[in-house]
Subunit: 284 residues, 2 copies
Amino acid sequence: MEIIENPQRMQERANQLRAEDKTIGFVPTMGYLHEGHLSLMRRARGECQVSVLSIFVNPTQFGPREDLDRYPRDMEGDLQKAASEQVDLVYLPSARDMYPAGFRTYVTVEELSEKLCGASRPGHFRGVTTVVLKLFNLVKPHRAYFGEKDYQQLTIIRKMVEDLNLDLQIVGMPTVRESDGLAMSSRNAYLSAGERRSALSLSRALKRAGEMVAGGERSAALLREEIRRTIEEEPNTQIDYIAVSHPLTLKDLERIAGPALIALAVQVGSTRLIDNCIVEAHAQ
Amino acid sequence: MEIIENPQRMQERANQLRAEDKTIGFVPTMGYLHEGHLSLMRRARGECQVSVLSIFVNPTQFGPREDLDRYPRDMEGDLQKAASEQVDLVYLPSARDMYPAGFRTYVTVEELSEKLCGASRPGHFRGVTTVVLKLFNLVKPHRAYFGEKDYQQLTIIRKMVEDLNLDLQIVGMPTVRESDGLAMSSRNAYLSAGERRSALSLSRALKRAGEMVAGGERSAALLREEIRRTIEEEPNTQIDYIAVSHPLTLKDLERIAGPALIALAVQVGSTRLIDNCIVEAHAQ
């Protein structure tokens, strides 16, 4: 497994691979890898001749009072996991190389970036799209893989790729869950045993909402109310948002009539967790 | 000479050329070609195996009260000029293809885009960087050519290329002037005979400032004052700005101590003209 730290070296290597006509599959991550990341790496390896993993805790997507400093890191464990998944190349840029003094260029996807998580994390998605575009330009992938756990991020990146005419394919992969339903997230490492029990209310509430839609419920307000009730039953939970939205525009829906995104963000103790599902109204 | 209008077709052609190991030289323009553009095309042809010219009057870089609708156009003449300069490929995107309904992604180079022309044309450089990045992704050039007449634009594009890790080289080329000194610009077509005489004060003032620096003058305020006097002597001139700036950061200089940009924008009648020069203070 090849490890590259220098951006220029990464770009040269990507050019080399492209000159050899190799297809490049890319999984950008912030590390502290879990099964969700591994599923992306497996898919990349299956579909592309060379799989590239990047690990970079991107400072520009954290707000000033967010968890950049305590974001969990485990480089040794991550490299072991990457090796056992037969990743071909790991790119480990430094913050100084990615954002040298005088860095001033940002990519913004308007509207989509202001909704849901964007409303409570101003600047977050600008940081995401900027670093993802930089990584794309350095790694030059044919395909890039993202988890649906970060559904809004995936939607925004798809939009950026379309609007900027980027010549690559974005592949979204289903959220991987623990056996009890908790969506896998590096931030789960923050949870105490009690908080982890409370955190189960997120997936439980989404499951309940999905059942209500399957049973004929079409009112977004009633779905949100049921989700709120389910989560607020648990101690140490504080809801940031519960949204029933159009899956492409992320605009609020009043009634479900076709596919819909149900997304939520909840503070559990001091940890902000997100989860989502797609529901679909079929003719009754 | 090949002509392509469709973005996907352009990108496929670029991929084809790259697969054949051809170097691509790119000259993005808004058309109404003059000697300045032709000098870029010649350089591209001399340095690269395939030269691509784009003609696109980019709506996102015009403000609501600017001259988008009356911007001069001459497609037939432009294609003749391109052909006689032996351009290999002309890309002619439509506004609808470049900005389909729902387009929302923009690239901003902060600070640099807010100074000089950016102060009087809010959003202008955001439009420029966004369209240039899109064109780069479609044409996939190894080198792209820009005139120093639009010095701030060139500086901002260089910064974008650096910050976003774009894998191409930006080549700046000297301003081409009419024999009487007027910097070539498509907007010169707007000028009446009298306005054209007034417009000569821009290059005359810059020349005078250059002589003052060569003669030992180091005060930006005195240089600006002399330029102001020279331009205001002429009828129908209204100064937008006169700047003595650092050539990379575009920050105002008080004294000249090394290379400096002198840049100005003047409304002549209803036409906004810009010009600039680089001066250099040598030890006396």
